[in-house]
Symmetry: C2
Subunit: 204 residues, 2 copies
C-alpha cells in the first residue's frame, strides 16, 4: 500500500496562486500550473470530453487514474470542485473528504463515492487504505492537506509536475514543514516540453 | 553571450541553510545541497585534488568550467571563499566581485583575477561580458546576488541542480521576485541518483 501525493508546481515552488477562495480555487496567476493538463487525452476522457493529445504527459495522467484506488482531500478542494465535477466525477474511486461538519455519504456515477470524515487525517487515511484494495491512496489536495500528511510522515511517494514558470507568489507546497530535514530518493524523472515530472520516495 | 546562473537547490527550494555567516557560508543544515559535488573528479581537479568519480554529474560540472569565461559574485561569497580557494582558485577566469569598498585587483595563479566592482550590478556584468570573450558570464552567487540579477531580467539561462532532500528552512533562491510572472523553456534535463539537473532559458 503506497500513499502518494501528486501536484503541479511552478519552478519557484508554488502549487496555487494568490487570493485562493471558493470562487477562485487555483488562485490568481496560477494558470501556468494547469495549462499542460487541459488538452491531455486522459484528462479529457475523465471529464467526459473526447479528443486531446496522446503524449507522455497524458500517459502519466492516465497512470495516476489507474494506480489510485482511493483519494483523500480537504474540504476546500471538495467545495471548489463539487460543481465542476458534476454527476460523474473524474476519480471513479472512493474519496474521503476531511471536514468538521458531518454529512451524508454521496454516491456519484462511475464509482466515485464521497465520504465525509470528521475525525482527522489518520482516520481518513485508514478508511482510504481499507477502500483502495491493492491500489494506492492519493492525498489529492489542497496544499494544506498535503502539508499535513507530509508533516505527519504519512506520504510515501511525492510526484511533482514542475512547470517551467515562475509565479512569484502564491501558495507553497514545501518548506517550513515540521518534519525537519528529510531525504528522498528519485524514483523517476520524465521531462517533456510541458513539465518535468519528478517522482520521489521518502526514505525512512 | 549568455548570462547564466547555476545553483544547487533542495526540492523545497533552498540554496543555503539557516544562520548563514562568514564562518558558516552554506548555513546550518545545508550539507545535502553540496554532498553530490565533493567527490566529482572535475570538481576535485579544480581544487588540486586527484581522483573522484567520472560520472554524468562530473561532466556537467566540467561543462560549467569549460563554458564559463567570467564570473560575477557577491561580496559575501567572495569573503567566505577567499581563504578556502587559496592561491589557485577554481575559477581560472576573471571574477568580478560586487562590493561597496574599493580594493585593488588580485591576480591569482591559474588565470583567476578578482576585480572589485563598486558601481553596481550592471557595471559588473558589463565588465564580465567584456572579459568573457566568446564564453558565458556566470552569476555565481550568493542567493541574494543571483536574485538581484534575476529581478533585473539579466539572466538568460538558469541551471538548478535539484537534490532529493528537504531542508525545511534556509535561504530561498526563487519566489517573491519583483519581475512578476515569467515563463521559461526547458533546455535540458539530466537526472542522476545524486541530483536532477534542470536547465532553463528565460523566454522574453
Amino acid at each position: 500500500m503506497t500513499v502518494t501525493a501528486d501536484l503541479a508546481m511552478s519552478l519557484d515552488g508554488f502549487v496555487a496562486g494568490t487570493d485562493v477562495s471558493l470562487d477562485n480555487p487555483g488562485g490568481d496567476g496560477a494558470e501556468p500550473l494547469f495549462e499542460w493538463i487541459h488538452n491531455l487525452a486522459s484528462w479529457r476522457e475523465r471529464q467526459g470530453l473526447s479528443g486531446g493529445e496522446e503524449n507522455r504527459d497524458s500517459e502519466l495522467m492516465r497512470e495516476w487514474f489507474d494506480v489510485t484506488g482511493a483519494v483523500v482531500m480537504g474540504r476546500m478542494m471538495y467545495d471548489t470542485g463539487e460543481e465542476f465535477w458534476g454527476d460523474n466525477p473524474p476519480f471513479r474511486t472512493p474519496v474521503f473528504v476531511l471536514t468538521h461538519r458531518p454529512r451524508r455519504t454521496l454516491v456519484k456515477q462511475g464509482g466515485t463515492v464521497f465520504t465525509f470524515v470528521t475525525d482527522g487525517i489518520h482516520s481518513a487515511l485508514d478508511q482510504a487504505k481499507a477502500a483502495a484494495g491493492e491500489r494506492n491512496v492519493d492525498i489529492a489536495g489542497g496544499a494544506s492537506t498535503v502539508r499535513q500528511y507530509l508533516a505527519a510522515g504519512l506520504i510515501d511517494e511525492l510526484q511533482l509536475h514542475v512547470v517551467p514558470a515562475l509565479l512569484g507568489e502564491g501558495v507553497r507546497l514545501l518548506g517550513g514543514l515540521d518534519t525537519g530535514r528529510r531525504t528522498l530518493e528519485v524514483v523517476r524523472v520524465v521531462d517533456t516540453p510541458l513539465a518535468t515530472h519528478l517522482k520521489y520516495r521518502f526514505t525512512r
